[in-house]
Symmetry: C2
Subunit: 346 residues, 2 copies
């Protein structure tokens, strides 16, 4: 946009003007995007493929804190966390619809920044923006993202189809986003008590990026495709490893055994945990927002994934009678819980 | 649900428990609903048909006022206004995804009431609930509804395909929802100044229902199907006749001429307008929330719709040079504006 455009304010543009202003340069690249922004509904054509749809609502103060979240990052993250849900079905994210509610304290340039992040994520993941709405809000900022994707019917992977003895795997590493959040919260408190003090965020790029600008595991889904391989069950890790693994177990009506020393934790996360005196396994089990993929594979498929650096086997599925446990480095059986974990003896 | 269930409160249930509690009795009736609530995404199959997707965000204080909006009605309306956008494409609404943010001031029974309204609307319009999320909110209540529908590729009706001389039609009657809102706002002010006084809403059922529990025009879309007829362009009237007709004109790159005495206004709306000293045409042109359908048809198709009581021709499309005008009962040309209208001479 030109500099002169920047002088518009939102009330000059009006609601329709604002939507037009923000969406005018949006191009549709997906063959399945028949009609995007500008009508009552988007029109999509997935002929022969199944359609995946998911929605997330991000609320100020609950899902994000504008005190330390740059709007561009927020827009990026809002898209990424949604398309992660499509990827977790072994699908290809293809379109999104974004609705935003924001209060008049935000000028046009703020909304543009948010939209810039949205557009960046769409470009990176090759997703079309096909609809959306912008409302004023009397309260905080609200972002609703609907992600749409496609998959061949036989390729969709559900949560409830894991089998006994299947190997449990996770991508990337865990707990980083949670530790990034702890750091941001700490610096916020420092800032609140001493407003002049600049936040001390140097050297913490990795965990900050995990929290503020996460990526979705499109590379893993492409890897599955290349290897002509399909997990037996899969879920997006958004609420912490324990919580999401329990979903997978309950829905598959099975138990699980994972090993503490197999849980992948980055050295930067480890370092931050030491600083905060938090057990890094706790950060991985109970911290959220990692958006890695958790999936199970039959033992016969292990060969196909064993050399992939970004995939880590952490245990296996068991009969439901066993329950859901982590074997600690000291070889204790620790019962997994959606929040927190306690020993089997308790 | 049993009475004993009612004693649960939300913190006992937790987020996952709450979602399970609210969605456990949801049945999927649509053949296209492959997988509903309970995985990362919903899975839908529209083989051979195109997919329509739309999202609306409803924010407390902007789109609804909980002081006079019963939660059951709110849930119902949240669904209806969204599926109206699918109908406005000449599509069949098939599924919805509902995400809700609510503050802790609401107990479980409030959320159940809201959900009850959502379920009622889904039953009436034969729409499956295939996903959703519930978050706590630090501020007001937020409802995000994504409506999904299907249509055969050749049957979808866009906004930008009206032709010169096409007849402009509207369904039902206009301005009622706006007058219902005026009444509710008046009684709210009375209540705020004299808290003991009961609101005086007797005899105003029609306009109150138009505002609080609107219906979507599924009957009109069925009528088109029966008559093997397709409008040349169509839009949902949500922002007032003037605003939505202007969208249709601009997107079709045409002008229009409508006639004041043809605009359908119910006698209850008329009566309320007199009480408030508001011109009823103004309520129809600028009041929102009617969720009637505005569409154009070629003159050759007029025979097919002329006997349908619920459809009213109000004018015709013109070349773009003419502009967008209403001919008043006193035969003045009045320029249509998105908000308000002024005479051509000005």
């Amino acid at each position: 946009m030109s500099e002169s455009d920047k002088n518009y304010n939102i009330s000059d543009l009006g609601e329709f003007g604002l939507i037009e202003h923000l969406t005018k340069n949006i191009q549709l690249n997906r063959k399945s995007s028949i009609k995007g922004v500008g009508d009552d509904s988007a029109v999509l054509d997935f002929s022969g493929k199944q359609t995946l749809v998911t929605n997330d609502l991000l609320l100020e103060g609950i899902h994000f804190d504008l005190m330390y979240t740059p709007l561009k990052h927020l827009g990026y993250k809002a898209v990424v966390v949604n398309i992660s849900d499509v990827l977790a079905m072994n699908g290809i994210p293809t379109q999104i619809i974004v609705s935003i509610g924001f209060s008049s304290r935000f000028g046009l340039n703020y909304i543009e920044e948010l939209y810039e992040g949205i557009r960046l994520a769409c470009e990176k993941y090759q997703v079309d923006i096909v609809g959306g709405d912008i409302s004023s809000s009397l309260t905080g900022m609200t972002i609703s993202v609907t992600a749409i994707g496609q998959a061949e019917p036989g390729k969709i992977v559900y949560r409830n189809t894991a089998q006994v003895n299947d190997i449990i795997c996770t991508t990337g590493d865990l707990g980083g986003a949670y530790m990034g959040l702890q750091l941001l919260e700490r610096e916020k408190e420092v800032f609140k008590s001493k407003p002049g003090v600049q936040p001390d965020l140097q050297g913490y790029d990795y965990i900050l990026e995990r929290q503020l600008k996460p990526e979705a595991r499109a590379d893993t889904i492409r890897f599955f495709e290349e290897k002509e391989f399909k997990p037996s069950a899969m879920i997006d890790i958004s609420d912490g490893l324990a919580s999401d693994l329990l979903h997978l177990c309950h829905q598959s009506d099975l138990g699980c055994k994972i090993f503490q020393d197999k849980i992948p934790i980055d050295k930067n996360t480890q370092k931050m945990c030491e600083e905060f005196d938090i057990e890094s396994t706790t950060a991985a089990l109970n911290g959220g927002d990692d958006h890695e993929l958790l999936f199970t594979i039959s033992t016969g498929d292990y060969e196909k994934i064993k050399d992939e650096e970004e995939i880590q086997p952490i245990g296996h599925m068991t009969s439901p009678d066993f329950g859901c446990y982590m074997i600690s480095t000291s070889e204790h059986e620790i019962k997994l819980q959606a929040q927190g974990w306690r020993s089997k003896e308790e």
